[in-house]
Symmetry: C2
Subunit: 197 residues, 2 copies
């Protein structure tokens, strides 16, 4: 059975996105700085970048798919990722509002799950067929799965950035101890990998 992992870029002060997230600035003020290492020096982080999307199925929150704000779906919205999203597999989006699947190029299909985390994980497990499952974000979704003890492996890419406020990881309580299984420090980013103790 595949591992359930959570692979996130995070500020030194613990945020996955800065304050004031909007559809124009989905990562909030300063949030893009957490991801700069992937664009600036991809060759130095090849293994870590590939691992982010090396899963058989993905789970994400409604906000990660469509930005902040609840309510019914905007019929034209198909995600931030253009015609060929980087997932190349099924993505299960947690939502309160039903939506038909949105197939994209390259094997990515967004499915919409109204039955909560457990239903999403069941469907992802079935779709992944033994491959790993990624809890892709955002913070609320990651916190929900972490607090429920559903995450086997946590990978953090710690950027030397302080965002001051925003969407904070580990804000969900009920946490277990971890074992550090790998770590690699580079001048721009520190890669940390933990397993459940």
């Amino acid at each position: 059975m595949g591992t359930v992992y959570c692979d996130l870029a995070i500020s030194l002060d613990g945020y996955l996105a800065g304050p004031d997230q909007t559809r124009d600035t989905p990562l909030g003020v300063g949030g893009i700085k957490l991801h700069q290492w992937k664009f600036d020096e991809p060759e130095k982080h090849e293994r870590e970048i590939e691992a982010i999307v090396d899963a058989g199925a993905f789970i994400m929150g409604r906000n990660m798919f469509a930005g902040p704000g609840a309510g019914v779906w905007d019929a034209d919205w198909t995600g931030w990722w253009g015609e060929d999203p980087p997932y190349h597999g099924p993505v299960f989006v947690l939502t309160k509002h039903e939506h038909d699947p949105i197939p994209r190029e390259g094997g990515t299909t967004f499915h919409f799950v109204t039955g909560g985390a457990t239903e999403a994980l069941d469907r992802a497990r079935e779709a992944a067929a033994g491959r790993d499952i990624s809890i892709a974000g955002g913070a609320a979704t990651a916190n929900q799965f972490l607090a429920a003890g559903l995450v086997d492996e946590l990978r953090l890419h710690v950027a030397p950035v302080l965002l001051g406020s925003g969407a904070r990881l580990f804000d969900g309580g009920a946490l277990t101890d971890l074992v550090q299984v790998d770590a690699r420090a580079t001048p721009r980013i520190t890669h940390l990998r933990y397993a459940r103790a």
Copy 2:
């Protein structure tokens, strides 16, 4: 002129101490786990352990010296560190209540400063005579100096521990960006060193 540094053991979720700090459990529930690496494998972290107290003067908050709770001083209290505290130099304790200096063995003297962070830093600078100055903690004091832009170098020892709540670093707002100047990952702890950008 010496560097002002802040050298702290921190949980992966950003706490310097766990919840429910008392005089019996000054690090709060689980907080001791952040420091276990120093006791278990000191020989693997010699450089980092020495650097923690390699300063000409120290500044700490009232809670770090005497535990939580405000009010006048307990006349018998001389700190947690026994006869020969590890500082071997002057320690300036931020407080609202005057107190005569407390000299200890090995060169440590606790001085009590009622004029706030600026007065403490002025006195520490003079006492350090060109050597570095350590902002020793706890979280409120570290946050105060960080938010005021008074810290030149931040050293964090990130433990694979989740405390869930407690005394959180970076809870003071008004933060600048950092440059990562050194990092060393070991299975038990990750040493990160940052300078002000």
